[in-house]
Each structure stands twice: as structure tokens, then as C-alpha cells.
């Protein structure tokens, strides 16, 4: 073969391979960016999506045009299933916008970004007192700002202004999802990992917690508890504060207030609730003298709501001491059964989430309240 012909062969092969990669990534859609059709045993489960949730949930909900959002962190993402019968009856297009590992400010910005681009009229917003704590006694010099990495994928900033780099970022995100090695590796992983425990996010944004199911089945529930408690111990062995010197509260409270004002202006009904945590989590809080801080936080939230003078906002507390949080973690062993209500100290199972939705939707759905207190303010 002549060198010139050889180069032509390379060029043609390269173009063909590139087109094939783009088509493959589009069809498999490992990050849920294209809302491609799910085919059983091929791309039904998005088994490599875990590290891409902030990107995925910036775009995927837009395709779903939700009228009801569940907002929060990983706890609600795997705890509250939008397919709950009461929720389905209430809303045509519910969506779970829970995003693991991001703070309150980012969660609210993600939610407002969707609200501004869809016909959302109801929000279930989960809040955790640990997300409001700071490690500093003095307020930061700069005005509260979100880490750009977390919100650069969003069209609207938290104050409603347009993100000037949105179109560029969006193009880059879509390009990466179609023509990058990460996307190709994720697509291949997706095709080969469609087993019962494959990671997933369904079309409603819900995380079926298959990763937790897998570890629990293989290593037993105590493995997840031990790992999480070790992480929590490390985190909370530092000093944490709810209030700065002088008693001022961190900016997260202001962001929550702004969110509630904006949603009211847009006629979006908000139900606020606290997430339940297992007793082992609370024991750790006690050990690190954070119980008083927790009570202070709950009071501060209640005061914030009463200051809003908006009785439409329902506030449910699921973080109180109840029989559901006292399940005993079985010792290690092959026959260790999973807990009924919790995966590990900080993450509850869908079964408990269902009881929470039963409670919050009891008026509309006629369901019984067996768990949860509605706080009057």
C-alpha cells in the first residue's frame, strides 16, 4: 500500500469510528443527557452514572418537564420515590431532583433553575441540619457564593439572572457525553453491567439504591454502617457551629428564605421536611455535643417560616426520636438481614420514604400518618 493511500485509509477509518462512537454513546446515553429510549438488558440501567449526577440532573429534568419536584441531597434521592401512588395521583410528572454531595445553596439553585424552565407547581424540599453547619466562628468575608463547578451547568443563577457561560458549558457537556473516552467507557460499562444490582437513576430521577443493596447482600448491613460511621466520626470530630460569633446564622438560611419567596411569587407550593436519621447517627451527634445545635437549628427554621407569614408552607419533621430509627444493626455474618428502614445511619430506605410521603400527602391522599410530625408555626 502506498503511504498516501494508507493515510486516506486512516482518515476514513477514523471518521467512521468517530461516528460509531457518537451513535453508540447517544443510544446508550449513560448520563441521561439525551433521554434516549431504554432497552431492557442493554441500557435500561445507567450503571456508571454515579459520578455525573450534577451534570445529569442539570439537563435530564428539562426533558421531563416536571410539575412536581423532590429536592434535597442523596437521602431524598434514594428515599422518596416519585412513583409513590399518592404522588402519582397528585402529579402527572413528578421528578426526584435529589443530588448527592451538594450543599443547600446548590440544591436550591438547581431547583429554581428547573422551576424557571418548566411548569413546576409543587416542591417537596428536604433539609438536614448538618447542611447548615459551618466550621468557622466568623462569617466569610465574601458574600455567599456557590461553587461555580456545581452550578455552571445551569441556565439560571440563584438570583434569576442568566448564566452567561451556559450555552458554552451545555455544548461542552453534550460534546463530552457523545465524544469522550469517559462517555465511551461509561457506555460500555452500562451495556455490560445490567445485573440486578446495577446502579441506576430511573426516568423520574429516583435512585433505587442498588449500590447499597449490593453491599448489604454481599457484606451485610453492618459493612455500610461501619463505613459511614467511620466517615461521620472523622467529619464531626472537628468543631462545627450553627451560628457565627454574635449569633448570626449562616447564609444557607438566607438562601432558603429567598427560595421560599421566589417559589411563592411563582405560585409554587412548598412542603418542607427534615430527613430521618438512624439512632447511631444521633449517638454520634450526642458524642460530639451537637444535639443542642440541632435543636437550635430546628427552632431557627421554624422562626424563619413564621417570619415568612406564609401558612401555605407545610413543615414536617421526620428527624425526631421514633421507633423507626432504633432498629438494631445485626452483627457481621452471612445471614445478616438488611434493616427494614435504613441502609446506613444517614440514608433511609424507600420503605421509610413511603411512610413520609403518606404523612405529607395524607390530606390529599387519605393515607394514614404513622410517622412524622407536622410542625405548626
Amino acid at each position: 500500500m502506498q503511504p498516501k493511500t494508507f493515510l486516506t485509509h486512516i482518515l476514513i477509518t477514523l471518521i467512521l469510528l468517530s461516528v460509531a462512537v457518537i451513535a453508540f454513546n447517544f443510544f446508550i446515553d449513560p448520563y441521561l443527557l439525551f433521554d434516549s429510549k431504554r432497552v431492557a438488558s442493554v441500557n435500561e440501567k445507567k450503571s456508571d452514572i454515579n459520578n455525573f449526577i450534577p451534570v445529569s440532573k442539570a439537563y435530564h429534568p428539562l426533558a421531563k418537564r416536571p410539575d412536581l419536584l423532590i429536592v434535597g441531597n442523596s437521602r431524598v434521592e434514594m428515599g422518596l420515590n416519585p412513583r409513590h401512588p399518592c404522588l402519582k395521583r397528585r402529579s402527572g410528572r413528578p421528578y426526584n431532583l435529589g443530588i448527592p454531595g451538594i450543599g443547600v445553596g446548590s440544591q436550591l439553585t438547581y431547583a429554581l433553575n428547573i422551576i424557571r424552565q418548566s411548569e413546576t407547581n409543587e416542591v417537596f424540599l428536604a433539609i438536614d441540619f448538618t447542611d447548615f453547619l459551618t466550621t468557622s466562628k466568623t462569617p466569610p468575608d465574601k458574600k455567599y457564593s456557590l461553587a461555580p463547578a456545581q452550578v455552571r451547568h445551569l441556565k439560571y443563577r440563584s438570583d434569576g439572572s442568566l448564566n452567561p457561560t451556559y450555552q458554552t458549558q451545555r455544548s461542552l457537556d453534550y460534546y463530552r457525553a457523545l465524544f469522550s473516552l469517559n462517555a465511551l467507557a461509561s457506555s460500555i460499562t452500562t451495556v455490560f453491567d445490567q445485573g440486578q444490582w446495577a446502579t441506576n437513576r430511573d426516568d423520574y430521577g429516583f435512585n433505587p439504591a442498588n449500590d447499597f443493596k449490593k453491599v448489604t447482600a454481599i457484606e451485610g448491613p453492618q459493612a455500610l454502617f461501619a463505613q459511614k460511621l467511620a466517615d461521620l466520626e472523622k467529619k464531626y470530630s472537628r468543631q462545627w457551629y450553627l451560628r457565627y460569633q454574635g449569633g448570626t446564622l449562616p447564609a444557607e438560611f438566607e438562601r432558603l428564605r429567598d427560595f421560599l419567596v421566589t417559589t411563592k411569587e411563582r405560585n409554587v407550593r412548598v412542603t418542607l421536611f427534615t430527613n430521618p436519621l438512624h439512632d447511631e447517627f444521633w449517638q454520634l451527634m450526642k458524642k460530639h455535643d451537637l444535639m443542642e445545635t440541632y435543636r437550635d437549628w430546628l427552632t431557627a427554621i421554624t422562626e424563619l417560616l413564621s417570619g415568612m407569614d406564609d401558612q401555605d408552607i407545610a413543615f414536617w419533621d421526620f428527624s425526631y426520636d421514633s421507633p423507626y430509627i432504633h432498629e438494631i444493626v445485626p452483627p457481621p455474618g452471612k445471614n445478616a438481614k438488611p434493616l427494614q428502614w435504613f441502609w446506613e445511619p444517614a440514608h433511609y430506605r424507600q420503605e421509610l420514604g413511603d411512610l413520609m410521603l403518606d404523612a405529607m400527602l395524607s390530606e390529599q391522599c387519605g393515607s394514614k400518618i404513622v410517622f412524622g410530625n407536622r410542625i405548626q408555626y
Binding site: 498516501k4 493515510l7 477514523l14 457484606e219
Partner: protein, 518 residues
């Protein structure tokens, strides 16, 4: 500008090639050289335009020195001393001023506090290249009267940033050869093939290995948590990362240069296949070893002045080789370690000679020799990579098992009966990290297989004479020992396309080359 970037692959390289060959076709060689020089300066300035002045000054100064050496033979020694001193002073200021100020200040409690001086890109490479030119010019081995040609020798973009370190006498004759058009398509095809191999080595192998290196080496706080498996996993990952990163860069440089019809000297020749440390240094960063040998070790007396002087010279050469890589105690320790290894190797050879024992060719002897060499190199990389001596020591202690060994619970749970045996051996269980450990093992295995069992780039492309060897038979197996022999055929067109595709798919996760910091 990075070789593994959109702007280089889709804009800079095609435009430069087009312009260069446009002038070559018109037989306007000087215009073609001007294109290459301007493109190379743009390539350099794209990174940090403020350092363009430095490289321009350096080239002007050394060109004038070279001219003076040719025109004033009676002042040759003085001119050479001035030339080398100015070059080393510049390098010393930018690279070592902070280090010496901090250490001397601390030693004598002087409270010196020098502002951080940023290291200009490639200064170590272009300084060494020009020192070698001055020395060669003083020996009448080379000369240059054309400034554009001289600039081309120094700043030809494929080798400017991180080598290979080239000699004036091996580069310029190639540029001025007039029959460049006759094999233009062959050069383009071979160059593209070599570039594709390098791009793959860098973006796929090295960059994936780096994921296991940073969490251990860039996190001194991890020292107390570091156990046997983590320390070895990370260090072996770095061992192969460095090789694939730097040899990948060298391949890309060799490939780019070949597209312009230029052959660069071989820089890596399967160094981890070496069976002794002397052999390792014949295969690793060959052009630096050559420089250190020709312009430092031999002028110091080499092996001509008795064993004590020889070993002292070896130690000094490697110490300075360590310092060339960076101003830090860990580089000094790395250099001293390699100096010591070389001394032991030479002493061993000498002892065998005295005892009249011939080296065994049995597989067991060769395997043991390879293993000892490999482990010695791996241990030295710990100092090369760790940010401080303390951190390097803690990693080595963990590798020696002083922090115990623990397996992730996920891995442990899957081991069945073996887990009981491991527990009896003192292994403990920890939560998390199973997936990371498994992928670390897989990547090290893959990289090790490629580095130890596959032919290297020079062997793969042997029939196209991809590189310049110092001697006709520099290595025992310059041809590919396996059936992997790159050719103008359909299968190799597909392989090359796949390698290029992998590289192109990685362009959105661009990472720098490790040797840019030196």
C-alpha cells in the same frame, strides 16, 4: 501548547505542516525554516508569552558565543567559560535560587525570604542543548553561521519543551537536505503512526494510572492511613505512569518531527526490561544520559583515573542529574540512590571479573537481576515523586509493611476461604476502597504487560528508521522481536485509527506532561 490538545492537533500542526511544505515545494528553504521558527516560538509563547524574551535572549547569546568560538580560537576557553557560566547562571536563578536561599537561610538562620520564582517552561532542556552546542563548537565538531538555522536547532517545537535533547550536528544536516519532498507522504504516515502510539500511551495509560498516584503522593496527611497495598499500588502506578507519560511525549515529539522529515534521537528503549542499572540508564531518558556522560562524567575524568575517582564521578554525575530534575532534597536523594546503584553495579561486574566468573544466562539469574533492578528503580521513584522526604519515607515504610496490610471489606468478602488464611497472616479489614484497589491492580497489570512484553515504538517502526541511534547496534534487539511490525497495510491503518481515536476522545480531559515541570 500541549500535543494532546485540540488547538495543537486540529490547528497548529496542520497549519504549520501546510505552510512548511508550501515553501518547500517552491524550493524556498529559508522561508520554510522561518515558518518553523516562528511556529515554534508561537508554540512556546502560547503557554506563557512572557518567557519568549528569555528563550530569545538565550538563543541570541549562545549563537553569538558560537560565532565567537569559531572566529576567535585563541580566546576559545574564555568564551566557553563565559558562555557556560551565563547559561548555568540563568538556569540557576530560575530553577535553584529559591531552594538555595531557603536552605542556606535556614542553615545560618538568616531569615531569607525570596519571592517564588516561576520556572520558565523547558529552560532545563534548551539550556542543556545549547551548552552542548557551545562545547561541540569549541571542539570544532559543529558550527553555525545562520541565525535562523541556529534558532531552528534550539526551538524546533517537537523537541523544545521536554526533549529529546538533541545535538546541533545531528539536526541541522537533516534540515538542509534538499530531497525532502521525495518521501513526504511516507514521513507523514510514519510520523502520524508514531504520534498515535505516543498519544495513546499518554492519554490512555499514563493518565489513567495517575488516578492512583495523586491520592497517595499529593496528600501528606494520608501517611498514617497508608498500608502495604495502597503504598505499593500507588508506587507501581507511578512507576508506569512516568514511563508512559514521558516516553509517550517523546514518541509524539519523534512523530511530529518525522512529519517534517526530521528524525530525532531515541529517548526510551523499554527501560523496565533492563537487567541491571547500567542497562537501565542506557534505556531511560537516553538523551539526558548521553548529555551527562559526554559533558559531565567524561570531563570529570570518567573511568580513566582509577576506581575511586570513577565511583566519585558516577555519584557526582547522578547527583547533578537529580538536581537537574528539580531543586529539592528528594531529587538529590534520588540522584544519590542511582549513583549508589551504579557504583554497586560496576563493583559487582568488577568482582565477577576478578573472580573470573561469567554471568549466568539462566532464566533464574536473569529474572533475579531484572527483579532487583526493577525494585531498585521503583524505590527511587518514591523520592522522585513525593513532595517531601518525610512523605517519601512514610510511603517506603508502608511499602515495607510497617503500617500493616489491610484489604477492603468488599474484596475480603469475595475471597472465601482465602480470607481466613489472610487473617491468620495478620491482614486486617477496612471499609471501602475495594473498587479502587481492584482497578489499581488492573491498570498496573495492563501497563506492566505493555512495558515489559510489548515491543517499544522504535522496534515497532524499525523498518522506517524512526529514530537516530548513537551506534548502529546500540541495543541488542533494535528490530521488533515479535510479529508486531508496523507497515503500510490495512490492519495497521485500523490500529493507527483506533489509537488516534482514543487520543481524540481524551482531548476534553487534557492533562500536562510530567516532564514539563523539569
Amino acid at each position: 501548547m500541549l500535543f494532546n490538545s485540540f488547538e495543537f492537533i486540529f490547528l497548529f500542526l496542520p497549519i504549520t505542516l501546510t505552510l512548511y511544505f508550501f515553501f518547500i515545494r517552491l524550493k524556498k528553504m529559508e522561508s520554510a525554516f522561518c515558518v518553523l521558527v516562528l511556529a515554534s516560538l508561537f508554540f512556546y509563547g502560547y503557554w506563557e508569552y512572557r518567557y519568549l524574551a528569555l528563550i530569545l535572549f538565550s538563543m541570541c547569546f549562545n549563537f553569538l558565543c558560537g560565532q565567537a568560538l569559531s572566529k576567535h580560537p585563541s580566546y576559545q576557553r574564555s568564551i566557553l567559560i563565559v558562555g557556560i557560566t551565563i547559561n548555568l547562571a540563568l538556569l540557576g536563578y530560575f530553577k535553584y535560587a529559591n531552594f538555595f536561599a531557603v536552605n542556606i537561610g535556614a542553615l545560618f538562620n538568616l531569615g531569607w525570604n525570596l519571592e517564588k520564582i516561576f520556572l520558565p517552561l523547558a529552560i532545563s532542556f534548551f539550556t542543556f542543548q545549547q551548552i552542548s552546542y557551545l562545547v561541540d563548537a569549541s571542539k570544532r565538531e559543529t558550527k553555525e553561521y545562520n541565525f535562523i538555522h541556529y534558532c531552528l536547532f534550539v526551538c524546533f517545537f517537537p523537541q523544545l519543551i521536554a526533549g529529546p535533547i538533541v545535538h546541533h550536528k545531528e539536526m541541522l544536516p537533516q534540515f538542509v537536505k534538499v530531497n525532502r519532498l521525495t518521501s513526504q507522504w511516507e514521513n507523514l504516515a510514519v510520523g502520524l503512526g508514531i504520534f498515535a502510539v505516543g498519544l495513546f500511551k499518554k492519554t490512555i495509560i499514563a493518565d489513567n494510572l495517575s488516578l492512583f498516584v495523586q491520592p497517595v503522593y499529593d496528600n501528606p496527611g494520608i501517611a498514617t492511613e497508608l498500608d502495604f497495598f495502597m503504598a505499593w499500588g500507588s508506587t507501581l502506578a507511578y512507576t508506569f505512569q512516568l514511563y508512559f507519560d514521558f516516553s509517550g511525549y517523546s514518541d509524539m515529539a519523534i512523530g511530529c518531527a518525522r512529519m517534517f522529515g526530521i528524525k530525532l534521537p531515541v529517548n526510551f528503549f523499554s527501560p523496565y526490561k533492563a537487567e541491571n542499572i547500567v542497562d537501565f540508564w542506557r534505556r531511560w531518558h537516553i538523551t539526558l544520559s548521553r548529555f551527562l556522560r559526554d559533558y559531565l562524567y567524561i570531563p570529570l575524568g570518567g573511568n580513566k583515573k582509577g576506581p575511586v575517582r570513577r565511583y566519585t564521578n558516577l555519584l557526582l554525575t547522578m547527583l547533578l542529574g537529580g538536581l537537574w530534575h528539580g531543586a529539592g532534597w528528594s531529587f538529590i536523594v534520588w540522584g544519590l540512590l542511582h549513583g549508589s546503584y551504579l557504583i554497586i553495579n560496576h563493583a559487582w561486574t568488577k568482582t565477577l571479573g576478578i573472580l573470573k566468573i561469567t554471568r549466568s544466562q539462566s532464566w533464574l539469574y536473569r529474572f533475579t537481576a531484572w527483579l532487583i533492578t526493577f525494585l531498585a528503580v521503583v524505590i527511587s521513584w518514591v523520592y522522585f515523586r513525593a513532595p517531601t522526604l518525610e512523605h517519601a519515607n512514610s510511603i517506603l515504610l508502608a511499602m515495607a509493611g510497617f503500617n500493616g496490610a489491610s484489604l477492603p471489606a468488599g474484596v475480603y468478602a469475595r475471597l472465601g476461604e482465602l480470607s481466613v488464611l489472610l487473617q491468620e497472616m495478620g491482614l486486617t479489614v477496612k471499609q471501602g476502597g475495594g473498587a479502587v484497589l481492584a482497578t489499581n491492580i488492573i491498570w498496573v497489570f495492563v501497563a506492566g504487560t505493555v512495558a515489559l512484553l510489548m515491543p517499544n515504538t522504535a522496534q515497532l517502526f524499525h523498518r522506517f528508521e524512526p529514530v537516530i541511534y548513537e551506534h548502529e547496534n546500540s541495543f541488542r534487539l533494535q528490530r521488533s522481536p515479535s510479529s508486531w511490525k508496523w507497515a503500510f497495510s490495512r490492519p495497521y491503518a485500523v490500529y493507527t485509527s483506533i489509537l488516534l481515536l482514543c487520543g481524540l476522545l481524551s482531548l476534553t480531559q487534557v492533562s500536562e506532561f510530567l516532564y514539563f515541570q523539569f
